[in-house]
């Protein structure tokens, strides 16, 4: 576990790179055209998951902007500018596979990052292995993705198992039993419920479990069932848009159970759609608390807010880190084009990202910290877990 001291002694990603890259940039003749490295991006920009796709893309764009504004990055004495080749996969496995194939063989990018949907990532991963191009996932959460023995696949973000681990302990500790669920009927929702099922200790009773399809907005059936089963707490596994709607309907229906949510529900955007009283002490796991009093997070959040005029988002932070991890691997490998060398470097990488230290385990799965935050009555959040990063209202 990372300590506060370690974090403060380490420079933040942006500062480190800026310092690293700025010098040669000034040293070399400024007029000279620098070489550009193009990374491949697969993400959903249209279709049902366009909204989370936008956060992911914002994170990538922000990283490129930060690097290029700092004058590029240096690998093996050469300075490079960064560019992205983005393909929209619409959360569709066939389009994802095509995009991956195109990036690997037509655009011949050294590394591909991104993806939102687990099944699409599962279609992209074997192509990454076939053509020897590392694929760095920054959002999909299905645990089995990194369990296929594919050494070209990396995942920066915590998977469902990791996300739920802390929350399950927290739920058990608070005695929120029985615990009911309302979850998206897709990979994120069903995966989340199954994850919790495995992780919750026996003394936490499973209440009602309800799934709804993406695009459904009427939660009344779930609410009636939950009321009927008499649940202590309700866990919502969905994005912020349906999440806000679900909470409004839960409260409008006069149900005052404890709410438990995902990282999508720990943002101010979320509050814009609701009143703090609706949330009433809702707790959620979070891979990235945007207001945490941690310098690297503060810095990123400020950067994000300046660029997009809204509170930063975990998907953006994970994706932002993804780019920096890849750049770091290129620097460690001393190449911007040799995908195999970059892959080997990635496997050994140790990078202090916005979301925390990123190191890949034997399955190429990173293990960044997972937080639990809680809404305060004044509409801010606090960090409850991990204990060493706990912070009060206003810093979640």
């Amino acid at each position: 576990m990372t300590t506060m001291k370690q974090i403060t002694t380490r420079a933040t990603a942006v500062a480190a790179l800026a310092a690293l890259a700025a010098m040669p940039a000034f040293g070399v003749s400024g007029a000279m055209a620098q070489e550009t490295v193009t990374l491949g991006i697969v993400t959903a920009q249209t279709g049902p998951l366009a909204a989370p796709g936008r956060f992911q893309m914002n994170g990538f764009d922000l990283a490129v902007q930060a690097i290029n504004e700092a004058g590029g990055f240096e690998v093996d004495g050469e300075t490079y500018m960064l560019d992205l080749q983005v393909y929209d996969t619409r959360c569709n496995a066939a389009e994802g596979a095509s995009a991956m194939q195109r990036l690997a063989t037509v655009d011949q990018v050294p590394v591909v990052l991104g993806e939102l949907c687990s099944p699409v990532a599962a279609a992209e991963a074997p192509i990454a292995a076939d053509f020897g191009v590392p694929l760095v996932l920054t959002v999909p959460t299905a645990p089995n993705l990194t369990e296929q023995g594919n050494e070209w696949l990396f995942r920066v973000n915590p998977n469902n198992f990791q996300l739920n681990e802390a929350l399950a302990a927290f739920v058990a500790e608070n005695g929120w039993s029985p615990l009911s669920f309302i979850a998206w009927n897709n990979d994120a929702g069903r995966g989340g419920v199954n994850g919790m099922r495995e992780l919750l200790p026996d003394d936490v009773e499973f209440g009602y479990v309800g799934y709804f399809n993406v695009g459904e907005v009427d939660f009344s059936s779930h609410i009636a069932n939950i009321r009927n089963e008499g649940s202590e707490a309700i866990m919502l596994l969905m994005d912020e848009e349906p999440g806000a709607l679900a909470i409004r309907q839960i409260r409008d229906a006069g149900l005052d159970a404890q709410l438990v949510g995902t990282l999508a529900m720990g943002s101010s955007r979320f509050l814009d759609r609701l009143n703090a009283e609706y949330l009433d002490g809702m707790a959620q796991y979070n891979a990235f608390p945007p207001n945490a009093p941690i310098p690297r997070i503060e810095e990123f959040s400020a950067l994000y807010e300046a660029a997009y005029g809204e509170e930063s988002h975990g998907f953006a932070a994970q994706s932002y880190d993804g780019i920096f991890v890849v750049i770091a691997a290129m620097q460690a490998a001393g190449t911007v084009s040799d995908s195999a060398a970059i892959r080997d470097a990635l496997a050994e990488i140790s990078w202090d990202g916005v979301i925390g230290p990123i190191m890949f385990n034997e399955n190429n799965q990173a293990e960044p910290p997972v937080y639990i935050t809680q809404w305060c009555d004044d509409g801010t959040r606090r960090i409850l877990f991990p204990d060493d990063l706990a912070a009060d209202c206003g810093f979640g």
Binding site: T46, P48, A50, A51, N185, V209, G210, Y211, F212, N213, G215, E216, V217, D218, S220, S221, H222, I223, A224, N225, R227, N228, E241, L245, D252, A253, G254, R273
Partner: protein, 291 residues
């Protein structure tokens, strides 16, 4: 359980009212024109958007915004009838395909104009809670049920008590006979599309504030409306009304006994079962010829 049952009956009645509007519009168009319009759901959705537009940008009155939305959708309906469906009469396959194409056009047109994210529309009636014992609903729930009740009654009176309404019903029951009696079929087509689209707009405008206004908001009402007109008996107006309401209530109550992720499966399995046991639908009487 009794309480949950009551809760689901009220919720089901509310959603059933919405399905009823969609089904009623579709059955009018189907009965009169023999057109199965799969684009009815996106018209419902556009109704929500137009209402939002009028409410936030122009009128600041929910009632006027609803009426404005119904007017705009009537015009769109007229254009679709004239421009597309009238030309494809008697060609079932091409009608279906044209209506699928229209879904593409309209849904993505809305995304291009308003963006993919949902719009919120807060009005007084969604913020007022009506407690019933331990249960609680928004006033909008009852506004929807009441408005639909009044509208459907009005439509029924129109169809049974006015000249043009009677003509519409006559055309719906037997186009040839209607022509013999001297009813202008083209005027009937226009009337059915006007009313059908206005009803869709009303549905979207009523449901939008309660939930959200977003590009796929009409998909489920369309599917449930389709199920309603089949279960009710294609071409049967009372069948569509009772079918819509029935589906709303049955699917709501069924979730107390069956996992919610199989809720739509229940509705569609019921649809298939009805078709097998009573192909003319629960309220259908005649078997129409092929189109």
């Amino acid at each position: 359980m009794a309480q949950a049952l009551l809760e689901q009956i009220i919720n089901g009645t509310m959603m059933g009212s919405i399905y009823m509007l969609v089904a009623l519009g579709m059955v009018l168009i189907y009965g009169v024109m023999h057109v199965l319009n799969f684009a009815h759901g996106v018209l419902f959705m556009v109704g929500g958007y137009v209402c939002h537009f009028f409410f936030t940008q122009v009128l600041d009155s929910y009632l006027l915004a609803i009426l404005g939305s119904m007017a705009v959708l009537s015009v769109i309906g007229l254009a679709l009838e004239r421009g597309v469906f009238r030309r494809l009469r008697d060609n079932l396959r091409m009608q279906v395909i044209a209506s699928l194409g229209l879904i593409l056009v309209i849904q993505n047109g809305v995304i291009a104009i308003w963006g993919p994210n949902a719009l919120q529309m807060r009005i007084t009636t969604t913020d007022i809670r009506v407690p019933i014992g331990e249960l609680s609903f928004t006033l909008q729930h009852f506004l929807i049920i009441g408005t639909v009740g009044v509208t459907v009654t009005a439509i029924w009176l129109f169809l049974t008590r006015t000249r043009i309404g009677t003509a519409l019903r006559a055309t719906s029951q037997n186009a040839e006979a209607a022509q013999v009696v001297g009813i202008d079929a083209n005027r009937m087509y226009v009337a059915s599309f006007l009313i059908g689209c206005a009803l869709a707009a009303l549905g979207g405008a009523l449901l939008g504030p309660l939930f959200l206004i977003f590009p796929t908001m009409g998909d489920l009402p369309l599917l449930k409306g389709l199920a309603a007109i089949i279960i009710g008996g294609m071409g049967s107006i009372p069948g569509a009304i009772i079918g819509g309401l029935g589906i709303g209530i049955v699917e709501a109550v069924s979730t107390l006994y069956i996992p919610t992720d199989f809720r739509d499966t229940v509705v569609f399995a019921a649809l298939i079962a009805v078709l097998l046991l009573r192909p003319q639908g629960l309220f259908g009487v005649r078997v129409r010829g092929e189109a």
